[in-house]
Amino acid sequence: MAKAGTETAVSAKPQSRWKVKWASVKRNHLLYWLLAPAILLTIVFKYVPMYGASIAFKDFSPIRGIMGSEWVGLKHFTSFLSSPNFMEILLNTIKLSSFELLIGFPIPIILALMLNQIRRAGVKKNIQLVLYAPHFISVVVISGMVFLFLSPTGPINAMLSFFTDKPVSFMSDPDAFRSIYIWSGVWQGAGWASIIYVAALANVDPQLHDAATVDGASLLQRIWHIDLPTLKPVMAVLFILAAGGIMAIGFEKAYLLQTSMNIPSSEIISTYVYKRGLQAGDYSFATAVGLFNALVNVILLVFVNGVVKKLNEGEGLL
């Protein structure tokens, strides 16, 4: 047996590593067939568009196609950067998403800490059941509800009528747009986002809390010194992911909540790309704007990852 072992080892040596691997590929060819549909779809719908993004540097004409269109260098980028509404759109995007991050990120954590103090499992479960529910409502319906609730004849204005005599038209007020966007998002998503923190808190060893209580720690001290440090790694990862998506801020809701009146604060890069690209047919320009957005996003991601690594003792995502 031992001899046979050495023999195969010797005879395998002159064979290249590639041949051994190739043999394994042939033996397991079925595994590759299982992967085939996924790989095919990824190439066609993810990688081909990446190549197609080169039209940002061309004057795309549908007749000539991507290959045949003429290279124009950075023309579309410079025309976006120098357009009069560039600054407004960029700032709108950054403001909307960073406010959303600053408000939307800590709330689920606080919510989880609060839920963690509920001792009776049944009560806790029922509260969670209610808090998760809005997560399953579509953006269209959420936006529709926002319009209905905030309309001059809606329930919010009916309540406000005690204090003000004139109805407030929230949806046509550019100053109100950001708050509406962010707080409706909190209403919909905070409960659901707290799940992961609740789960992390469930793993805290109760003996830690008991020991701390014996040592005279108050409830708040225990939350601060035991519960919060437990959440720290989860927080770090989720924060990087959220910050990485800053520039990718949802087209869907911003577009739905947009009215001709609140455009000054609701026009963000993604809505602009849609309008210039698909509605106005300015393919190359819109693609350039989209690429610019992606570039800013990557820079942000790397930057935030670096900061979090510093704060989190060298632990980052990247």
Binding site: A53, F136, G244
Partner: protein, 292 residues
């Protein structure tokens, strides 16, 4: 064991009150929509909530069914969501299974190949052009195929498949089962929970989405429910069939508000009713996905 000091108990008490407040804030809009869909709009405006049975009406719902565009959207959405779920679950589970195998040469490379697409993509316009060039515009395929590949689903299923003991597969292999048979007879039955979770996520995601339909579909008969809702709720286009012959502007406003509330209820009801039963599965999915 835990003993609470006076100030601790005060904090716990405040906590309970605050949580109650939060529950009310979350629940109130939902209940309001439900009530508003059933109450005479004028009553709602003047008196607020009323428990007078004569103030209740099903008019909003009747109008919706008379017009039919919401019903058609509902059916379309069902078909799209079911089709999308079947395709995406099949593709992603097969890929996840393959990637969970130790035998796969080039696993790392293939994984990176998928992961890259989570962080980089061609963007809206180039993707649109691909779909257009494939002749998928204004067909169901544009909704079902381009998004069928979901890297997160692949990771989720791969993680799960890896947790299935290798010995089981080994034993079957020794008994002479082919790789395909092993997947079908051993792995698949053990994986029902994860397949269910992914299917649920896929279905709900598709049910709630409107963007792809908005850019790829032109024919109104093909519209999924969310697009029909958008035209009613956001664009204020109450379908002509919903309002009878000429009515005063005030009457039109009255009815359209009502139709809006009713259509919100109708669109959300299936998910809201189903969801308590599925809650534990959702949480499982979130957990498996996060603890990769």
């Amino acid at each position: 064991m835990n003993t609470y000091s006076k100030s601790d108990r005060f904090i716990l008490f405040t906590n309970k009150i605050l949580l109650c407040g939060i529950v009310v804030v979350v629940l109130f809009p939902l209940l309001y929509v439900l009530l508003a869909s059933l109450l005479e709009p004028n009553v709602l405006l003047s008196k607020g909530l009323s428990f007078n049975s004569s103030d209740w009406t099903l008019e909003g719902y009747r109008k919706i069914f008379e017009d039919g565009s919401i019903v058609r959207g509902f059916i379309n959405s069902m078909l799209y969501s079911a089709g999308f779920t079947i395709v995406t679950v099949t593709v992603c589970i097969l890929a996840g299974y393959s990637l969970s195998s130790d035998e796969l040469v080039g696993k790392r490379f293939i994984m990176i190949f998928f992961l890259v697409t989570m962080f980089f993509n061609g963007g809206l316009i180039p993707t649109y052009l691909v779909v257009k060039n494939l002749g998928m515009l204004n067909t169901v395929w544009a909704i079902i195929i381009p998004n069928a590949i979901n890297v997160w689903f692949i990771i989720l299923s791969r993680t799960y498949f890896k947790s299935i003991p290798n010995e089981l597969k080994e034993a079957a292999r020794i008994d002479g089962a082919s790789e395909f048979k092993i997947f079908l007879k051993i792995v698949f039955p053990l994986s029902k929970p994860i397949i269910f979770v992914i299917a649920l996520y896929a279905f709900i995601g598709q049910w709630n989405s409107y963007f792809d339909a908005m850019i790829y579909l032109e024919d109104r008969d093909l519209y999924p429910l969310q697009l029909v809702l958008r035209s009613i709720l956001i664009q204020n286009e109450v379908q002509p069939g919903m309002i009878g012959d000429q009515q005063a502007a005030a009457e039109l406003q009255r009815i359209s508000e009502m139709i809006k509330y009713s259509s919100i209820v109708l669109a959300s009801l299936p998910l809201i009713i189903m969801y308590p039963f599925f809650q534990k599965y959702f949480e499982k999915g979130v957990m498996v996905g996060s603890l990769k």
